[in-house]
Every structure is written in C-alpha cells, then in structure tokens.
Symmetry: C2
DNA sequence: AAAATAGTGTCTATGAGACACTATAGT
DNA sequence: ACTATAGTGTCTCATAGACACTATTTT
C-alpha cells in the first residue's frame, strides 16, 4: 500500500551522526496491537470468528484474533500473521479498517490497536473455526445503511456473547465499511468460492446490506459490470432449472 | 467515535491482582505519532499546510504537522492538539484517515503514525499558514477518481516540494477519501465559510473532484438534499446578478 | 445597453424497479 | 404434469445532463 521512500536530506555524514545518537526511549511509547475481524456470510447471516479469552483482562469474554505488533513486521504483515496463527488462513482479502486508541480501552496498559477486517467464503470460514478455541459468532446489526456503531453477537444457540475491549465497535465498523464498499469495490466475490451463481451473489449482497435487493437490476448491474466471467458450466443436482456458474474476473492490469 | 466500555470479567480481586502484576515492558513497543493533513480548496486548487523540517531526518524537507502520542490522550485528541499547536486552529472537521506502519518509514526508529485529515475554508487556512514555518503547498493530483497513490506538491511559485517520510502518500489518501465521501457526507461545506453561494459550493466540489460538474443537476441535487438553508440574503458588490447566500443546515438530531 | 452570472422550465438519455413471460432442471 | 428457479423482454419512474430562456445586478 505505502510507497517506498528513497531520497534523504542533507549530507549523509551529518544525518547518520544524528541517527546514531537518536534515543527512541526519550518519548512515551504505547503498546501497539493488530486485531482482525474475519467476516463471512452464510445462510443469510453475517458471522465473525471470536476467541474466548483465557487470561485477564476480560477473561471469559470473547475477543477478536489479534496480538502485539513485532519489531520487524509492517502492519499488514502483522494482521496476516495473526490470521494465519489464530485461524490457519492465508491469502485472504485483508484490509485496514480503523485504529482504536482511547486511553482506557485496555485496563492493562495503553494499547493502540490497528483493526483489520478479512473476508472469506463459508467453507474456508468453517475450516478456520474448526480450531480449538474459535467460536462462530453471528452478527446482529441493529441499524440499516452505514450508520455505524457497535453490533450484537450471538453464538450458534442464539445466546448473546460478551465482547472484550471495544471489539464490538470494531466489528460494527467492519460491517459499515463492507456495506459502503460493496457497490464499488469487488468485495462481494471475496465472500464466495471460486464459482457461484448470480442468485448466490445476490444473497451475499443482501446479507451484507441487511435488506433485499432487486433481482432484475442486480443481474443487469453485475453482468454489465464486466466483473463476471461465465464459466459455461451449470449447477448440478438442484431441483429446478440449474443456473449458470460465474467466476470473478480479476481485472487484468489495463 | 469509540463507545465506552464498562463491564469487566471474573472476580474483581482476581483481575485486579493480575493487572497490578502486568508488565507492559515485556512486549516490544514502537513509537506512535499522529500526523494531520490540513486541506483546503482555494481558487480551483487544493492546498495543504506543510512545515519545513529543521531537524534530521529529512532535514529541509517538508512534513505534515504531527508529533508523538502522549500517555494521557486519545488519538483524536492528539490530532486536535497537533493542529492547535502547529496551526492555531481548533474546532475544525477532523477525521482519522489511515495508519502507516511500514518498518523503514522513519529512519530514526520504528514509528507507527495515525494519519488524520482536517478541512477548513480558505480564510482560516490563510490564518493558519501565517505562522512562522508553515508553507502553503498546492496539491497536484495526477489521477482522476479515487485511484489513490501519492501526490505532487508545489509551493506558491510552482517549485516542487520534497515531502518527508511517506507524507505524500498521506495527502494522496486524504484526497482519495475526500473524493469518495464528497457525494455522501456533508464535507464540502467544511471547505467554505458560514455562508456561500451555490456556485461557490460547486467550485469547491469541482476542485476536490478535479473535474467540472454539471451546474443544473448540481443545483438540483444540493437544493433537494435538505442540507442547505437559504439565508434570504444575497451577495453584494459583484458585477452581475447577485446570488442568494446559503448556510449549511446542521441536521437536527432526528 | 452591455456584460455577466443567477435561476427556471423542459426535453432527453440512462438506470432501477416492476412485471410478464419463457426455459429447464428434478420429482 | 408440477414445482421451483433461471433468464429475457418491456414498461414505467426517477434522476442526470443538455439546452433554452428569463432575471437582476454593476458598469
């Protein structure tokens, strides 16, 4: 994302001398963490992966997978590492969301956390939650549109989950971002497998937006967008006329 | 932005004992800074305030106003403080943009910087740049739409400015965000004074978007949006028919 | 009167929503 | 044959763009 920087100012010797004498410990340094909201859409509901905390603070509460930033890694790298370590997933869509840094948000010490969200299809999500402590949390979004705010999470039995820190805010912001980008960016595809029917894509959009979308105009828009490649193959084993399977057309670098 | 958190887990004594024994220095902690891109639109051009660095690294380069996060302040607070300290401005529109944390972005030490952007009208911007080291940098955006990327900055005489760190990326992302939000959020008004004509508002939109917008439909959209209150007053001293002055209608909490 | 921009009315093109209709699989 | 969803064609309505025309100020 960020572009590398090469030029530097002043005479090398002068600057090098300065840098050598620089003492980073002069300034206050908070802890920095990354948290990842892994989001999927299954059966008309949004879900995210949470882990029950076994340590203080918020012991017994659910938290997003996350952890402290390491010295030799960038933020995106740290988020990908957390995802890999805690869920076994790699190569998924991952995007920075927002940075949370309120003074009292972590009772241990000051922690500034850079929140990310990741998108996967239902199958990969299921594999990710097969791990020991992971819980699939169904997301209940108490607002329409992109108004933001925290969300409510329930487990598979419908019981409310208590989220640690401000992690319900993080998930709320992920939903907000998702809804806002859905019509512009090719992110709906990230919530589906390799091939899918137009109706499946529509259901994903409806799940994310939390409202039904018009079938006719949705089809037209999608087919006209140039983002879909027809595979020529069709569904099999459905008890009605099978729909054509499409594939997401990764735009070639034009 | 973030919602306060009150409930806590487990028995108080147990958790309190844990927190007392917590050693924050066990984990690596990078420096955390905030940088603010103060943006305005004047005479068809976007401008931002930069400060010439008098210290290494990037001595002699221009940088955004910014500085290290303090122990007792939140991120938004820190950004507002930087703006107040470095430009004298307060009470302006301020929004978190993105967090930059590449390993080598600051040669002194690892610095994670939370970037903000702020919007002001031309008059307030002029006052802000009246300060000693501040320079008005005109922003040249080498792309249309919201494609992102760094921008090029020139001073009042058209000479290119060299930006420190990845600050050209930060400004580029501010433009990107601005363009993306302009049609949804009431941010165009932030770039104008208390009252303004529809043409002035249109010029601001054109400046932000980097392209002309249709006059007729712009008027219709704005008037239909309910975001404008007619003041009943008109321009004075212009050599043509004076336009009505409008005011931004801060939506009451409906 | 001329110049310049403000503001209105209307026509057209485009895209979304609604709806009717045909197509094709499994049972 | 029946059911359920796929997919097409067409009409309507809302909105953006284009354009013509009138209004009002200073010089």
């Amino acid at each position: 994302m960020a572009v590398k920087k090469s030029p530097r100012a002043a005479t090398p010797t002068d600057e090098q001398r300065f840098l050598k004498g620089y003492d980073a410990s002069r300034f206050y340094r908070p802890s920095v963490a990354v948290d990842v909201a892994l989001v999927t859409a299954v059966e008309g509901e949004l879900a995210t992966l949470v882990i029950t905390r076994t340590e203080h603070p918020f012991k017994g509460f659910q938290a997003l997978p996350g952890g402290f930033l390491r010295e030799a890694e960038g933020l995106d790298e740290a988020a990908a590492r957390q995802l890999q370590t805690k869920t076994g997933l790699s190569g998924v869509y991952l995007e920075q969301l927002y940075t949370f840094g309120d003074v009292g948000r972590d009772p241990r010490t000051r922690v500034v956390t850079v929140a990310y969200y990741a998108l996967v299809d239902g199958n990969r999500f299921r594999k990710a939650t097969a791990g020991k402590d992971a819980i699939t949390a169904t997301v209940r979004v108490p607002w329409e549109g992109e108004t933001g705010g925290p969300v409510e999470l329930v487990d598979a039995t419908g019981r409310p989950l208590r989220l640690a820190f401000d992690h319900d805010d993080v998930i709320g912001m992920a939903i907000k971002r998702l809804r806002g980008k859905l019509d512009y960016a090719p992110i709906g595809f990230q919530l589906l497998g390799d091939t899918f029917t137009l109706l499946e894509l529509q259901r994903v959009h409806e799940t994310v937006l939390g409202r039904p979308v018009n079938k006719d105009s949705f089809r037209r828009r999608m087919l006209a967008s140039g983002q879909l490649d027809a595979t020529g193959r069709s569904q099999r084993g459905v008890d009605h006329r099978p729909a054509e399977l499409y594939r997401f057309a990764r735009r070639s670098a034009v």
